[in-house]
């Protein structure tokens, strides 16, 4: 039982970073970032490269992952998304573009880093015991770092000028422009921040389980599940979605024979959406 709690907490914290990033991008740009999982993967591979190939410290690698993936996000937003949003007839076109960027990132990663599973040696060793549960130190570290990062993002979004501008932009673009906000810059920044969060999540996770070039779609799918549970575009909802998914997975793996866990999660999700299509925290569609 304690083990389920520990497992759920760790998963939830990891997932929260992923969900937070995709939510930021969605709320500000109204773009469902299909490439989110690929950005996560890239973050992991960058950490691998810096740590294992360049033999530099993990902290540095993590910073590199944040910066590079963040810059890639900003670049995509600036070069691709703004153009497509300007010229296309339909809103859905950004979705296709996002799929295109995900293919691009995945194959670029495949060419650069190869197809193999990559991981880095454990940063810390040892195992804590909490009651009957095990908590390996490396996982505890990731948990703590995740929580710190989540808190930092929440503080940034809620209490800084730029964060406020991001939230404002998500709610009313014209009014935000009239406040003197450079909406283009904030959008780019928001996309970059969302991407960077995916990157840092990947960079953290590689230290405990490794990544390979092909995991992107699976991560994106999980991110989608979380924002469907919590409500798209709502930050508190994405965190809640992460907690729900994390614990559902932990409980499922522990209690359900066979691996119908994910099948059940999907079925539950579909049924849930029938009753509450906007997710738990989402605002009802007008």
């Amino acid at each position: 039982m304690e083990q389920i709690l520990v497992n759920g907490t760790i998963l939830a914290a990891n997932y929260a970073l992923i969900a937070l990033g995709i939510t930021l991008i969605f709320s500000i740009m109204n773009v469902l970032n299909f490439a989110h999982g690929q950005m996560f993967m890239l973050g992991g591979l960058i950490v691998y490269y810096v740590c294992v190939v360049l033999h530099l410290p993990y902290a540095l690698a993590l910073i590199a992952a944040v910066v590079i993936v963040g810059l890639i996000g900003m670049l995509f937003e600036d070069v691709f998304f703004q153009r497509v949003m300007r010229i296309s007839n339909r809103e859905e076109n950004t979705m296709l573009l996002a799929v295109g960027t995900s293919l691009l990132l995945e194959n670029a990663a495949l060419s650069l880093f190869g197809e193999k599973q990559r991981a880095i040696p454990p940063i810390v060793s040892g195992v804590y015991r909490i009651g009957n549960a095990f908590l390996p130190a490396s996982r505890a570290l990731v948990l703590v770092l995740s929580l710190v990062l989540i808190a930092a993002v929440l503080v940034f979004v809620n209490y800084t000028k730029t964060g406020r501008a991001m939230r404002a932009l998500a709610q009313d673009r014209t009014a935000t422009l009239l406040m003197g906000v450079d909406a283009k810059r904030i959008s780019t920044l928001g996309f970059g921040l969302g991407a960077a969060l995916a990157g840092v999540a990947g960079g953290l996770l590689i230290s405990i389980s490794g990544v390979n070039a092909g995991i992107g779609t699976a991560i994106s799918t999980k991110a989608f599940i979380m924002i469907m549970i919590g409500g798209a575009g709502v930050i508190s909802g994405s965190l809640l979605g992460a907690v729900v998914l994390g614990f559902a997975e932990a409980i499922g793996y522990a209690l359900i024979p066979g691996s119908v866990t994910y099948l059940l999660i999907f079925v539950a999700l579909i049924v849930f959406l029938l009753f509450r299509p906007q997710g738990i925290m989402g605002k009802p569609a007008a």
Binding site: L11, E115, K116, Q117, N212, A218, I219
Partner: protein
């Protein structure tokens, strides 16, 4: 990264070369007697390494022979050309790829594909177009009559399990066993076969219901369940080289003291990278090339493979056999077999050659009568390895009964 980038360059060069090959009319080549062998498999996406190892192995063998002026069949030396086609592990693309090799390119022999899904999709094409292929997939229907065009290039998991578990029971005193399987068709089938074997051997099965999604990112929840039952042995059914080390690391972090076993080949480099000090104690089917048993020819092959691929992959130890035995059988069947598989099929049953990859004198033949009712498997030695101090060491050597 040095490796990776060099490999990219090599890949680029290979791609260019191949592009020229494909766009150049075949008349030009016909003058210098070429023998074209196909290779069809997954070479992109998460499973890319399976097909790529086939490709690099074939290229390495081909280059070694071409350097010597070609392979001699019926008194003529043939330059060997490898024509590779990526199927992305998508049956639709495998089918069109096989059609391309055996139809458009008129190739009678090809290596691959790499999974049950793709291999069974290829079967009708190969039979229609009269081609022999060497899948790396375990589906029995491919090798049992009425099918007779497929030759299993490696040892199937269900052939490994009885021997592996028996040895573990006898040598390491394994009494309790737990299974965790990859949740896809291959994984579940392998687990079910493994469970049967364990029952026959009288081992106590503590758990056989744990599975994980191939897309998993964290094995902690999966493994914590199994580790708490503390079996002597954890079998990782159909664990990909990417996943096995993660599972080991998690289990060790959770305090697991026992052994691991896997009927699929693993990659020692990934094990070292991912599992590090936790990588010891994995019993798996090896690449038939542990240092203790390999011949100088194998050393040469390894060197050549490393040049082609950028880094050595232990899986290639098994996959080296396909082209070598294919060529030798062709030589035995005579030049007419190049364009007609009937003589080749006829030659299979009586074929025998000295195993070039092993230090000790032993014969390499086709086997499989026991499992498939006909000789449709390469008699690759079954080398069971154990990871120790960051390297594969030989745990047991056996073979598939003819």
């Amino acid at each position: 990264m040095v490796n990776a980038s060099r490999r990219s360059v090599l890949k680029g060069a290979g791609a260019l070369a191949l592009a020229t090959t494909l766009s150049t009319p075949s008349i030009v080549r016909a003058q210098e007697k070429a023998l074209r062998i196909g290779q069809l498999g997954v070479m992109s996406g998460p499973e890319a390494s399976w097909g790529l190892v086939n490709k690099y192995s074939a290229l390495a063998t081909a280059e070694m022979w071409n350097d010597k002026g070609g392979y001699e069949i019926g008194g003529t030396k043939y330059k060997i050309e490898i024509v590779s086609v990526d199927d992305r592990n998508d049956p639709k693309l495998t089918v069109s790829g096989a059609e391309r090799l055996t139809g458009s390119e008129n190739i009678r022999y090809f290596i691959g594909p790499n999974t049950d899904t793709t291999a069974t999709s290829v079967r009708p094409i190969a039979e229609k177009n009269n081609a022999i292929y060497f899948p790396y997939a375990f589906a029995r229907s491919l090798y049992t009559k009425p099918a007779e065009n497929a030759i299993l290039g490696m040892i199937a998991s269900y052939q490994v399990a009885p021997i592996m578990y028996q040895q573990l029971k006898e040598q390491r005193g394994v009494k309790t066993i737990g299974f965790v399987a990859r949740n896809d068709s291959d994984g579940l089938l392998q687990r079910d076969e493994g469970v049967k074997v364990a029952q026959t051997l009288g081992l106590e099965i503590v758990s056989s219901s744990d599975t994980y999604e191939p897309t998993i990112t964290d094995f902690f929840p999966v493994m914590s369940n199994l580790v708490s039952l503390a079996p002597d042995l954890i079998v990782l059914s159909s664990a990909a080289p990417a996943h096995a080390p993660q599972m080991m690391r998690v289990a060790r972090e959770l305090g697991f003291q026992g052994l691991f076993a896997c009927e699929a080949a693993q990659d020692i480099k990934i094990i070292n990278e991912v599992a590090g000090e936790y990588g010891d104690g994995l019993i798996s089917i090896g690449g038939a090339s542990t240092p203790e048993i390999r011949s100088p020819y194998m050393e040469e092959f390894i060197a050549r493979y490393t040049k082609v691929a950028g880094e050595w992959n232990d899986e290639a130890g098994t996959k080296a056999y396909a082209l070598e035995i294919l060529l030798a059988t062709l030589a035995a069947a005579g030049p007419e077999a190049i364009d007609d598989i009937a003589p080749f099929k006829a030659a299979i049953d009586g074929f025998s050659m000295k195993n070039p990859f092993l230090k000790e004198e032993s014969q390499l033949t086709y086997v499989g009568t026991g499992d498939f009712g006909q000789k449709r498997q390469i008699g690759v030695p079954m080398v069971i390895t154990e990871t120790k101090g960051g390297a594969f060491t030989t745990f047991a050597i056996s073979s598939v009964a003819s």
